[in-house]
Symmetry: C3
Subunit: 247 residues, 3 copies
């Protein structure tokens, strides 16, 4: 990913609906300071995660928490940081399932304007039907068997939809690399405090190519966008996953 610099970021701010530094300063001068120095001039420049990956994490957190004020700026920044329009499109569809339909709809409303301003048309977006990625049949059989054994009698509809809609359909769509799909999922889980679902998806993310250093930096990054308590609550879960994988 190309390197991002603060002037790129400032150029992006503000698209319609966003909040300028001037407005932030008029309410809290120190919040402007932290935004410039700690966040854009600090966190986003750390080498442990590329600006492109930081945008993926940020977008996922913002959509998962319905921070609509942040969407226009961060969708535009993501495209500048190398997230393809097709990937942003697919991230929103993915989060309909992992953060709720209404969260995705708010993201649709914001992304529509960003796409229009950049003349991004439907031929640049992932089609409804596309050649699916190869399925890891052994892993999927293990997952499906375990979930069905635990919960098949509790909510048959949910268990069937999980297999058919998510793992045999959504996750096999080629518009988003499995590693990125996992990165989006893990980020949404952390941002919504859903630590119970983290072990499966953090392991899957690392199976899909996310390194431990990158996963650790996701926590560092997401603390700013989801708030420190979400990141701190994810720490013991990440620790446990990291330790078990090292054995």
């Amino acid at each position: 990913a190309r390197e991002m610099n603060v002037s790129d970021l400032e150029k992006m701010i503000p698209p319609a609906g966003s909040i300028t530094y001037d407005v932030v300063r008029s309410v809290s001068p120190v919040l402007e300071h932290y935004s410039r120095e700690s966040l854009l001039g600090g966190l986003w420049k750390r080498p442990e995660l590329s600006p492109r990956d930081r945008s993926v994490v940020t977008i996922a957190a913002i959509i998962a928490r319905l921070q609509t004020y942040e969407m226009p700026m961060h969708f535009a920044l993501a495209l500048d940081n190398g997230v393809k329009p097709a990937e942003l499109s697919e991230i929103i569809a993915h989060l309909a399932f992992y953060a709720g339909w209404g969260n995705a709809m708010a993201a649709v409303a914001a992304a529509k304007d960003v796409f229009q301003r950049r003349n991004i048309a439907i031929d640049q977006l992932p089609p409804v039907k596309d050649k699916p990625l190869p399925l890891d049949e052994a892993a999927e059989r293990q997952r499906a068997t375990q979930v069905a054994g635990n919960f098949g009698a509790v909510s048959p509809g949910l268990v069937r939809n999980t297999t058919e809609l998510l793992f045999l359909d959504l996750w096999l769509r080629p518009a988003l690399a499995p590693r990125d799909r996992s990165l989006v999922t893990v980020s949404a889980l952390i941002a919504n405090g859903q630590t119970a679902q983290m072990p499966f998806h953090l392991n899957r993310a690392m199976d899909n190519g996310l390194t431990q250093e990158q996963a650790a930096e996701v926590l560092t990054h997401i603390a700013f966008y989801a708030g420190w308590p979400c990141a701190m609550s994810a720490l013991p879960v990440a620790k446990d996953v990291f330790e078990k994988r090292q054995k």
Copy 2:
């Protein structure tokens, strides 16, 4: 409840402030596809839960998660699916207590427009004072004794308000059947990931007439509106409640 069909739903979309299929497609063609096929043409047609109950669950999830973009469409759809204006009104008041005053206020803002467009006036809404439903005194005594024993010394005000405002007042209002009030409560708890409060309220819902099959389908349904992780985190809690009741 009368049967719902997709053309009914499409007729409803979009009221003011909602997002059309065209807009969804302009950002994510596959999200339009999932919305039409998996959600409106799939989930909503499953017989395990009536369209009317699905609307109750959906409204509760949307208000609980403050998905303001979804409110106009789903409030209108709920009325079409047989939720009475008085019930929608009472659901919003109920969720002021179970999802927060600010969530209810956002719902008020959206419902006001829907009511105005349909000429729903105050004489169709539940009055402030109404003949209370009969109280199950034994069950309430047990609940109140247990909570007071555990927490009466921790936060006396909260414990007293819980009894006086909720269980001796709100829950006895006749504008919403206890079974529906429970359905709203359980849906809000799942949608906000508040699994610790689920056992009491899921048991109460089933005592109030919600069948196990319906409860299971609430999980299937709410996964779309609150996101899969909320539904998956509710699964083990539901399993435990179901199993204990079968003994």
Copy 3:
């Protein structure tokens, strides 16, 4: 803090963007009733917590849950209740870290209008650099050592930022008394259901001068703004903290 009365509150309602009692009544007469009688005429008048502290708790809950509809009214009410503009400004900056940057940005958008209407200019707001409060070096060493021991190898960036940005910088800013900073933090944690982070911060709040009676009343108060389930889930955590401190 001066006493608040309902007419003060009504005078405040509605600033731009808020919802009047007339609108509430047009959707739910009983919700108007509860708002007037149970909330403004009841809860807010309880002596266990001053109106000023209630405003601090309310603001924190509203920002933490992104209840944007409530922000204009409650920011204005907070100023009327004795929260200084500099304190409101600093609360927003604090919650950028404890509830997420996007939550703070939504609060900035609402506070900007309130500040403008009251001619609150930047010279009334906390400066970027100010003489830091004295550091309790022993307590901070203990905290830092424990976190570094547990998680230093899991996410070094997060652990370092926690020390350098939060405990050696934000928490030492003099624009908000440590007791109030703790009150904001605890309120945000309860409002977001982040009970795992509560023991540390509730103990810190009480070390910083929050009495047990006040902490108990925070739960009573926040139930209305964050919803009962958040308050109920915080009860056992508060009980445990209270009991351990009494030994």
